[in-house]
C-alpha cells in the first residue's frame, strides 16, 4: 500500500507491505482526508512527528481482528481523537482516555490517514451516520471540538464571540457558533469568505496585517471592543497576540488545531488577565454527526479544492495558497491488491 511518510528525510511517498492486525485492531481503507493547518505543520517539520500525517480522515473498515467487532466490517468510520498506549497502569484498568502517553493518528505515535490504509484499535474508531458525506465526515472531529467548548468554557447563550482567522478551521468555528446562537465576528484576510459567512449571519471584518495591528493596539479608531470568548484560528503567533489583547479579562480563549505549530507564543498576558485557554481538537463525535446530519449546519463549504491522493505532495504545497480554504484529498483509485 502507498502512503505519505514524514521522517528525517523529509516528506515522501512510501510503499509498504500491509502488516497483520494485532489483537483488537481494524484495517481501514481510507476514502478521503483533509489537509489542515496541523497537517501542514507536520509535513513541514514544525511539529516533530515520524510516520504518516493526516489526523482528519474517513474510511471503510475492511478487516477486523476480533470477530466481536464484526459489526464494523464494511462500515464507514472516522478516528476518535486518541487512544491510550495500552501498557501503562491507567490503560490496563481501562481508562485509556487518561493515558499520559496517548496515541493520536498523524500527530503522535500512530500513523494518520494520508495513506491508502490505516490500522487502528477498534475502540478508537467511530462508525459514521450513513447520511453524512465523506466531506462532512472529515470535519466531524473539528465540529465536535468546537461544540465541546460550549460546555467546557461554559459559554452563555448570545455571548459575543470573536474568531481570529478565516482559514478552514476559523470558518467552521464561526459558522457553527453562529448557528448555535452566539453573536460571532470573524476577523480575516480574505474577502472571498464573505458569502459563506453572510449565509450564517456571521459578522466579518476584513483587514490586512498592518491595519489589524494598528487597530488592535488602538493606534487608529476607537478602543477595540473586548470579547468574552475569542477563538484563535489564525495559526500565527501574531494572531495569538491579537486574541490575548482582545479577550476580556477573565474570558476564554479557544485554541484551534492550526495553532500547534511549535512556535513559542508569549504567555504572560494569560496570567495577568486571568484568561482560560482551551485546546480544541476533538470532542463528542456523535453530537457533531447529529448536528451535521440535521442539515442546519454544513461544514463542507470550506472545501474549495479536492485533490487526488496521487498528487498529495503537490497538494501540501497548494494547500497553503489563500484561495484554497481547506483541501480534501480523495482516494480515487485505491490499490486493488490491498
Amino acid at each position: 500500500m502507498r502512503s505519505i511518510l514524514v521522517d528525517s528525510a523529509g516528506v515522501h511517498w512510501s510503499r509498504t507491505e500491509r502488516r497483520a492486525l494485532l489483537p483488537g485492531e481494524v484495517r481501514i481503507k481510507v476514502r478521503a482526508a483533509a489537509i489542515t493547518g496541523l497537517d501542514r505543520d507536520v509535513v513541514s517539520g514544525r511539529i516533530p512527528f515520524t510516520g504518516t500525517p493526516g489526523h482528519a480522515f474517513v474510511g471503510q473498515v475492511t478487516e477486523v481482528e476480533d470477530p466481536a467487532y464484526g459489526n464494523l466490517l464494511g462500515r464507514r468510520v472516522i478516528p476518535r481523537g486518541m487512544w491510550g498506549c495500552g501498557n501503562c497502569d491507567v490503560c490496563r484498568v481501562g481508562l485509556q482516555d487518561m493515558c499520559g502517553d496517548p496515541r493520536i493518528p498523524g500527530l503522535r505515535g500512530a500513523n494518520g490517514g494520508h495513506s491508502e490504509q490505516v490500522v487502528m484499535p477498534a475502540s478508537a474508531v467511530a462508525p459514521l451516520d450513513e447520511v453524512l458525506t465523506d466531506e462532512a465526515a472529515v470535519l466531524v472531529p473539528l465540529t465536535a471540538g468546537i461544540l465541546n467548548c460550549i460546555t467546557r468554557a461554559q459559554m452563555p447563550e448570545w455571548t459575543n464571540v470573536l474568531v481570529i482567522g478565516d482559514g478552514g478551521a476559523g470558518l467552521v468555528a464561526g459558522c457553527l457558533l453562529s448557528a448555535a446562537g452566539y453573536t460571532v465576528t470573524v476577523h480575516g484576510r480574505h474577502g472571498d469568505r464573505f458569502n459563506l459567512l453572510r449565509r450564517y449571519r456571521v459578522n466579518f471584518v476584513l483587514s490586512s496585517d498592518d491595519s489589524e495591528t494598528a487597530w488592535r493596539t488602538g493606534r487608529i479608531g476607537p478602543t477595540p471592543m473586548r470579547y468574552p470568548i475569542v477563538v484563535d484560528a489564525s495559526g500565527t503567533p501574531d494572531g495569538w497576540q491579537t486574541c490575548l489583547d482582545l479577550v476580556t479579562p477573565g474570558g476564554s480563549l479557544l485554541m484551534l488545531s492550526s495553532a500547534a505549530d511549535g512556535v513559542p507564543r508569549p504567555v504572560e498576558r494569560i496570567q495577568e488577565k486571568g484568561v482560560r485557554v482551551y485546546g480544541v481538537r476533538s470532542g463528542f463525535l456523535e453530537a457533531a454527526m447529529a448536528i451535521i446530519a440535521s442539515g442546519h449546519f454544513d461544514p463542507t463549504a470550506v472545501f474549495r479544492r479536492v485533490e487526488p491522493f496521487d498528487e498529495a505532495l503537490d497538494a501540501y504545497e497548494r494547500a497553503g495558497q489563500r484561495e484554497h480554504w481547506m483541501t480534501l484529498l480523495r482516494m480515487v483509485d485505491p490499490d486493488p491488491t490491498a
Binding site: L38, I47, G81, M82, C88, D89, V90, D97, M98, C99, G100, D101, P102, I104, L107, R108, G145, R152, R226, P228, W240, T248, P249, G250, M255, L256, S257, A259, A260, D261, G262, V263, P264, R265, P266, V267, E268, R269, I270, Q271, E272, K273, G274, V275, R276, V277, Y278, G279, V280, R281, S282
Partner: protein, 341 residues
C-alpha cells in the same frame, strides 16, 4: 520620610510625607514584602513609568490619617490594600474581580506609576483597604497577597480532594501553594530545583523531588519521575520550561493552572494545549479578605516561608538577597521609632 527610591538604581532617600486627599488615607507601613513584580521592575523586565519611583505593593500598615469623605473609623486600623482601585465600569469590576480591571492596572500602587509602600508612609484609596484581624502579626498579614493568589488558584481546580495535584516550582509561591493544597486535602507532589526544600515539605508529608534541567530536557524520564499523569498541575516555576514540563505531566483534558507571570520569558510552544486538549488557566491575583481569614485560621504555617527580614534602611541589601537564586521571601519591616509611643 524615608523611602526606598528607584531612580535608575535603588537607593535610600528622603521624600516628603504624602499629604492626605479626599477618599484616601495615609497608612504607616509596618511591613512590606518584596515580590516577583518588584524584582522585575528593578531589573528592568517591567517598565517603570515614573522616575524616581517608590515600589512596594504587598504591605500591611496602620491608618494614621483619613481624608475627606472617609469613615473616621478607619483611623488606627491595621490594613492591607489591593494595588488596583478598579474602574468600577468594566465587566471585571462589576463581577467584583477588580484585580483583573485593565483600566486600573496602569495606576497600580507601587507598580511604577503611583508611589508604593517601600517607605514610611503611603497614600491609599480607601476602597482598596481590607481590615486585618488583630490576631494576625504583620509577618503573617503581609503574606495575604500571595495567599490570595493561592486561594484563587485552588478555586480553579475542577474536582475535589484528595485528587492528585502536581506543583511545578519550589520558589516562595510554589511552596506556599504546596502547603495550601495539602491543607485543603489534595494529594500534592512538588517538583523543583532546590534539594534544600525537601525537609520543609517532607515534615508535612508532601512528596518532593528536586530535578535539574537535564531531566526536564529528556522526555523519557518525565513519566518515570511523576509516575501516573496528573489531572491538575499548578505551574509556579516562572519559566517556559516549567510550563512545558507541567503540561507533559498532565493526562489528556487535564487542567494547567498558571500562577507565575513569565515576564521576560521567551514564551512557550503551546502545541501541547491542542494535542492533549488541555485547559490552561491564568491566575494573577485574588481577593484579600478571604486570604486574611485563611491566614487567621492557621491552616498553614507561613512563617517558614519568610527567610529574610530587613529594616527599610537596609532595603538595597534586602533586594539583593531577594534576587538570589533559592531565596524564599524577603520582607522589609519598620524599625520602631521614638515617636511611636
Amino acid at each position: 520620610m524615608q523611602a526606598l527610591v528607584l531612580d535608575g538604581r535603588l537607593r535610600i532617600g528622603q521624600l516628603p510625607r504624602p499629604s492626605v486627599a479626599a477618599g484616601r488615607v495615609i497608612v504607616r507601613v509596618d511591613a512590606c514584602s518584596i515580590s516577583r513584580t518588584d524584582l522585575d521592575l528593578v531589573a528592568g523586565r517591567r517598565p517603570v513609568q515614573v522616575r524616581p519611583a517608590v515600589l512596594g505593593h504587598q504591605f500591611v500598615g496602620t491608618v494614621v490619617e483619613v481624608g475627606e469623605r472617609v469613615d473616621p473609623a478607619w483611623s488606627g486600623r491595621r490594613v492591607v490594600a489591593r494595588p488596583n482601585p478598579g474602574c468600577r465600569r468594566c465587566t471585571a469590576c462589576r463581577e467584583a474581580r477588580p484585580w483583573l480591571c485593565e483600566d486600573a492596572r496602569s495606576s497600580g500602587l507601587g507598580m511604577g506609576l503611583v508611589d508604593g509602600a517601600f517607605a514610611d508612609y503611603v497614600s491609599v484609596a480607601v476602597e482598596t483597604l481590607t481590615h486585618v484581624p488583630d490576631k494576625l502579626d504583620d509577618e503573617d498579614a503581609v503574606l495575604a497577597y500571595a495567599v490570595a493568589v493561592g486561594l484563587e488558584a485552588i478555586a480553579q481546580i475542577k474536582g475535589d480532594p484528595p485528587q492528585r495535584v502536581l506543583v511545578v516550582g519550589d520558589g516562595n509561591m510554589g511552596l506556599l501553594l504546596t502547603l495550601m493544597l495539602h491543607a485543603a486535602g489534595f494529594t500534592v507532589s512538588t517538583i523543583g530545583r532546590h534539594p534544600s526544600r525537601r525537609e520543609l515539605l517532607w515534615r508535612s508529608g508532601i512528596a518532593f523531588r528536586a530535578v535539574d534541567d537535564s531531566v526536564i530536557q529528556t522526555p523519557e524520564s518525565w513519566l518515570e519521575l511523576i509516575g501516573e499523569p496528573f489531572g491538575v498541575a499548578v505551574e509556579c516555576a516562572g519559566r517556559s520550561s516549567g510550563l512545558e514540563f507541567a503540561a507533559r505531566a498532565l493526562r489528556p483534558r487535564g487542567q494547567l493552572i498558571m500562577v507565575s507571570d513569565h515576564v521576560g520569558q521567551p514564551g512557550a510552544a503551546l502545541g501541547f494545549l491542542v494535542e492533549r486538549e488541555l485547559e490552561m488557566v491564568g491566575v494573577g491575583c485574588g481577593p484579600l479578605g478571604p486570604a486574611l481569614e485563611f491566614l487567621a485560621s492557621r491552616a498553614v504555617d507561613v512563617l517558614p516561608l519568610i527567610d529574610g527580614k530587613y529594616a527599610l534602611d537596609d532595603g538595597v541589601a534586602a533586594f539583593q538577597r531577594a534576587g538570589q537564586r533559592g531565596s524564599l521571601r524577603t520582607i522589609l519591616l519598620r524599625r520602631p521609632r521614638p515617636e511611636d509611643v
